[in-house]
């Protein structure tokens, strides 16, 4: 008779699950909860409480939503299913986990394939998995173990040497940490050759004929020919060994030796600067030197330890676009990056650009709503100036999609933001940006809604600053709609008198504006700004 779930779990469950729901980004809470549940499920066997099993599955599922890159937990989850005898579920868990890693997790593949070796009886099916793994992690620097598994299975399950040698031949060229082992296998295979015909398993017949001068189908005496052929093959092997060794040592000494973390770390863990730079240089090197497949894999590898650093996401996305115009993958990379990276502003900006380019309206709208919601619908209060700028610019840009009422709303946000004055960073840049939105805001609108507002409200942060007045004069001066005389008159007669009561900084900025653009009015400028020369201007 099964106990009900309520009977099985005690008060502790409530506390643990509450912890998780309150701070879902703290990995420790999840670990506590999982351990607790797994303890309750002990000993594992087929008679496990189905409700408890369901609960554990769900917990894993939610964990992976928050922490998609936790390889070991995926393995644990799959092993759990395996131990319970749920082979189908085990496959599903691995497939899903691999998907989260774009099939590029060596660890997951190894664990998966080991289990597959046990449970998959159909050779074709099994090898299909190996082939898939080969195309994704075959060039991994630590792929030696994978290749061993592969070769072992071929030996076990295939008759004849052909396939074994074909795979082994490829491995010889892979720059992997344990490269020499495979050369040993290869040399051993050469030693094993008993017949000239067998040479054709290792190289095409035509080449054996041309380069090694051995005629497989000839009538010559086979004994010396065989020795000749083996000798030549060994020579090629030795040369290949030199090349692979050179490549491996290069990669190892320059980069791999500096990389110590190979797995995803929780958000609180800081990665050493030296390791981050090592990755950055490694990736640059890969892009310059390598095979695309390997570069892609290296990016995926770097994502694990550096998931919380924006650099890696931006670099990956940029490479995808530049190298193969793969905007879609790039977009997916950035989406995941947005979730995981500590700093988000730059990723958000790139993502917005991509979404617009790809025409993904719904996603963009959703993204904006999430961003807004993250700031309680008051994004103008954020201290992150870049984030605010990007949000402001993009919302304005996509107004047609109707989730914002264009300029009016933008102007409101802008005015609110500006009203914080010195309490927020980047006000001057914002002002400058608005002033050069020639196509959006005419001079009248700007004057009425921004400049006049600031003057009427007497926001001295701006009025005593140099930048505000310079920007104001400049906007009037560059106005396309009005004539030179109008502009000049307006500045001299309307703006200059306003500055006379303001700080020396403000005055200085207007004077330098006059000197640059209207030198003939410098005297008037001095007169208007208050009679005699301000002493602080002289001793500046």
């Amino acid at each position: 008779m099964d106990e009900s779930l309520e009977d099985l779990l005690d008060d502790k469950f409530g506390v643990l699950s509450l912890n998780v729901s309150q701070s879902p980004l703290a990995l420790g809470n999840w670990v506590d909860l999982l351990n607790y549940l797994l303890e309750k499920a002990h000993p594992l066997n087929k008679r496990i409480n189905p409700q408890l099993l369901e609960l554990i599955r769900h917990t894993y599922g939610s964990l992976f939503t928050y922490f998609p890159l936790l390889e070991n937990y995926s393995v644990d989850c799959a092993l759990l299913e395996y131990k319970l005898g749920n082979v189908k579920e085990m496959h599903a868990v691995f497939t899903a986990a691999l998907q989260r890693h774009n099939n590029s997790s060596l660890l997951l593949w190894l664990e998966y394939l080991k289990l597959c070796n046990e449970v998959v009886t159909n050779h074709k099916q099994l090898f299909r998995k190996y082939e898939l793994a080969e195309s994704h992690v075959g060039l991994h620097f630590y792929s030696g173990e994978f290749w061993e598994l592969y070769l072992e299975q071929i030996k076990l399950r295939c008759t004849g040497h052909r396939r074994y040698l074909a795979v082994l031949r490829k491995v010889l060229e892979v720059p992997a940490y344990s490269y020499s082992k495979f050369f040993a296998l290869w040399l051993h295979a050469i030693d094993e050759i008993k017949d000239v015909k067998q040479l054709t398993l290792m190289a095409p017949e035509l080449e054996i004929h041309r380069k090694i001068k051995v005629r497989v189908r000839g009538r010559e005496r086979k004994g010396p020919q065989l020795q000749e052929g083996k000798k030549a093959l060994r020579k090629f092997t030795k040369e290949l060994y030199m090349v692979t060794q050179h490549r491996v040592l290069e990669i190892y000494n320059l980069f791999e030796i500096n990389i110590k973390t190979h797995f995803y770390c929780s958000a609180e863990t800081l990665i050493e600067k030296s390791e981050i730079t090592a990755w950055s240089r490694y990736l640059d090197f890969s892009v310059e030197n390598g095979v695309d497949e390997l570069t892609h894999l290296n990016f995926q590898r770097a994502l694990l330890p550096l998931a919380h650093y924006e650099m890696i996401w931006l670099k990956f996305a940029a490479w995808l676009i530049e190298n193969s115009q793969d905007y879609l993958t790039s977009k997916n990379v950035l989406s995941l990056g947005l979730q995981l990276s500590h700093k988000k502003a730059k990723i958000l900006e790139k993502l917005c650009g991509l979404l617009i380019k790809l025409g993904k309206q719904e996603e963009l709208v959703l993204l904006f709503q999430q961003t807004q919601a993250a700031f309680d619908d008051k994004i103008e209060e954020t201290d992150d100036f870049e984030l605010f700028m990007d949000y402001f610019q993009f919302t304005l840009f996509v107004e047609k999609w109707g989730h914002r009422e264009a300029e009016g709303v933008a102007m409101n946000i802008l005015r609110k933001r500006l009203s914080y004055g010195g309490n927020k960073k980047g006000q001057e840049e914002l002002l400058h940006l608005v002033c050069q939105m020639y196509a959006r805001f005419s001079r009248e609108v700007l004057e009425e809604q921004i400049f006049r507002l600031i003057i009427d409200e007497d926001w001295s942060y701006y009025l005593d600053s140099a930048k505000f007045w310079y920007e104001y004069c400049n906007r009037v001066w560059t106005d396309q709609e009005t004539s030179y005389l109008e502009n000049r008159r307006y500045i001299v007669q309307k703006i200059l008198p306003l500055v006379s009561k303001r700080s020396a900084n403000a005055k200085q900025s207007v004077i330098s504006f006059c000197e640059t653009y209207m030198p003939e009015d410098v005297d008037v400028c001095y007169d208007t700004l208050g009679g005699d020369l301000p002493a602080q201007l002289i001793s500046r």
Partner: protein, 628 residues
């Protein structure tokens, strides 16, 4: 040794006989090899020259001339070395007699007017040799009184002055001396206190002399005494009051600085005394811009326009060329003076700009200032004038600029000489910018502006002119010329060669500008029409150009047909290596593809170079030094 020094030494040796040169080989060597920055070297030059005078009792004219030249060169460079003036006087006395030696002293006090010693010597010589020229002597006393009379240790001078007037029996003059003297904080002030008192006592009967009463004298000297006490704090710390080559010790500099602060702030210190302290400070510290800046600031606050000008000019001729604050301040002073004192200042201002642009030929600010002031005074217009008049002035200004630019480019002679003197290949952009600004902002002629841009952007002088390109960018933005902007950004780094930092700024600014000024629908239309397949997409591609100005989209646009990658890089910038590779590598092939037919045998490249050391590629030389 620089050219000037070489010319001087050959001038010294000019015309001397071979025999003489041979006999005085040592001296010739010293003349040729003198290091003007080194006291010891200078000293040995003077000493060996003096020995010539001893050696040749009656030298010929050429030798005399050479000896004289040595001194003149040294004192021309360093007029503040008063010891050399004295030695020159002695030498001159030997060679040419009394009158010529007096001439030297008279030149000495001209060249170094604040030297107490030189003045005392000069006056002594005058009194001793021409006792009858009373007026001349008196005038010199009066001149020197203002120049050195305020100095703390000037009592020898005053003693001599009093002695002189006593001999002339001029109680009126004596009284004037005592009246002045009683207010000056002198080291020996108490001596003069007694002297003044006894003078007052002796002359009490002379009613026409307005002698201070005894109480008055007591009061005056009490004030002076307290002033002496406060001044003594600083005076006692001065260990090097004379000019010398090489840096002044920090302790001295601090002391002078504190002394000046005290003098400027104290009300007891009279203006002439303040001036005297400044002048004395600038004897040892004449190469220190800081003190000149203080002096000129004080002079400006004191308000004597001519005096300020003179001080600036003295300072600028003394301060080393690499220090520019004083010169900058001078220009600002002149510019501000243009308002009140235009007639007196304008010419000086233009001359100074001209002079400075000769000293700093790379700096375009002088030209810019010149054009601004020129526009203000020669093409000026006031808003009270009629529209036609104002616009006419703008037109003639534009015509003037254009004419001068073309004159410079064609090397023609018909330009404004004042302006042409300021233009060089490095400063030409300044003028072009002014022309474009006037055409665009003042004439509001967009078509003409565009024509000017496309004409001038081809000039080699403007290729690296950041401000020109920034103006161009600003213009494209103001006219919302998106095609122009996109091609501008595309050309950055390749055709437009400005610093990478500025390129980065332009790129990020352009992105903002694009997003905030373009309608989404317009962008979508362009995407649809495939414009951004090959061209730079402002939403996605701009970041590639940041810190990588040579990046262009063409490289990647071909998709599969990309250029072969550089495989020589070994992870260290600038180090290249011919790596051994498999030229028919199969790691990009799936192993399944050769399951039925084995892959070909590997072929190799650079296998023999496996043990070769890396090659260092020197980008500094290839990219910069050779291309410029």
């Amino acid at each position: 040794m620089n050219n000037k020094a070489e010319a001087e030494s050959s001038d010294v040796l000019k015309g001397l006989e071979v025999g003489f040169l041979k006999d005085n080989n040592e001296w010739v060597k010293i003349v040729k090899g003198v290091n003007w920055e080194d006291t010891a070297s200078l000293d040995s030059l003077i000493k060996s020259t003096e020995q010539l005078v001893l050696k040749y009792i009656n030298p010929n004219q050429t030798i005399k001339r050479s000896i004289q030249k040595v001194f003149e060169n040294a004192l021309g460079r360093y007029p503040l070395l008063f010891g050399y003036w004295k030695r020159f006087t002695a030498v001159q006395y030997q060679l040419h007699g009394l009158n010529r030696s007096i001439d030297v002293l008279s030149r000495a006090v001209d060249a170094f007017p604040h030297s107490l010693e030189l003045w005392c010597d000069y006056l002594n010589v005058l009194i001793a040799n021409n006792p009858n020229e009373v007026d001349k002597i008196r005038i010199n006393f009066q001149i020197s009184k203002d120049l050195v009379g305020n100095q703390f240790f000037s009592h020898p001078f005053w003693d001599r002055y009093i002695e002189f007037e006593e001999k002339q029996a001029r109680p009126d003059n004596l009284l004037a001396i005592y009246k002045t003297l009683s207010h000056i904080p002198l080291h020996q002030y108490s001596r003069y206190y007694t002297a003044y008192k006894s003078f007052a006592h002796e002359n009490a009967s002379q009613a026409d002399l307005e002698i201070d009463t005894e109480d008055e004298i007591d009061r005056i000297f009490a004030t002076t005494q307290s002033l002496v006490n406060s001044v003594w704090k600083f005076e006692s710390q001065i260990s090097q009051s004379y000019f010398n080559l090489g840096p002044v010790p920090q302790k001295e500099l601090d002391n002078w600085n504190n002394y000046l602060t005290f003098a400027v702030e104290s009300e007891l210190v009279s203006a002439s005394l303040k001036k005297s302290i400044f002048e004395r400070c600038l004897i040892p510290c004449q190469y220190y811009e800081h003190f000149w800046l203080r002096y000129t600031s004080w002079m400006e606050s004191a308000g004597d326009f001519e005096g300020v000008l003179e001080t600036y000019q003295k300072g600028i001729s003394a301060v080393p060329l690499n220090l520019r604050k004083l010169r900058q301040k001078y220009l600002e002073f002149l510019k501000l003076s243009l308002r009140k004192n235009k007639d007196r200042t304008l010419e000086t201002y233009f001359q100074t700009l001209d002079e400075f642009s000769r000293i700093y030929p790379q700096d375009g600010t002088f030209l810019r200032e010149f054009v601004a002031v020129l526009k203000r005074f020669e093409f000026g217009s006031s808003l009270s004038q009629t529209d036609q008049e104002i616009l006419r002035q703008q037109r003639s200004f534009v015509a003037y600029l254009e004419k001068n630019i073309r004159a410079f480019i064609r090397k023609a002679q018909d330009g404004d000489v004042r302006l042409q003197n300021l233009i060089s290949n490095t400063t030409l952009p300044v003028l072009v910018i002014e022309l474009i600004k006037a055409t665009y902002y003042n004439m509001k002629n967009t078509t003409q502006t565009r024509a000017l841009f496309s004409e001038f952007e081809k000039l080699p002088q403007l290729k690296f002119a950041t401000s020109f390109w920034l103006l161009y960018y600003k213009f494209l933005k103001a006219t919302i010329d998106l095609n122009g902007l996109e091609s501008f950004v595309n050309r950055l780094g390749t055709e437009i060669q400005i610093p990478v930092l500025i390129i980065n700024d332009i790129i990020s600014d352009f992105k903002s500008f694009f997003i905030t000024n373009v309608q989404l629908s317009a962008y979508e239309q362009e995407v649809f029409e495939g414009r951004y397949n090959a061209g730079l997409d402002p939403l996605v591609d701009l970041d590639y150009k940041v810190n990588n100005p040579l990046w262009t989209k063409e490289q990647t646009a071909k998709g599969g047909n990309r250029l072969r990658k550089e495989k020589k890089d070994n992870g260290h910038p600038g180090l290249y290596f011919e790596k051994p590779t498999v030229s028919n590598t199969l790691i990009e092939n799936h192993s399944k593809t050769f399951a039925n037919n084995p892959p070909p045998l590997p072929t190799f490249k650079n296998l023999e170079k496996v043990n070769k050391s890396a090659l260092h590629r020197d980008y500094l030389t290839t990219d910069y030094l050779q291309s410029v």
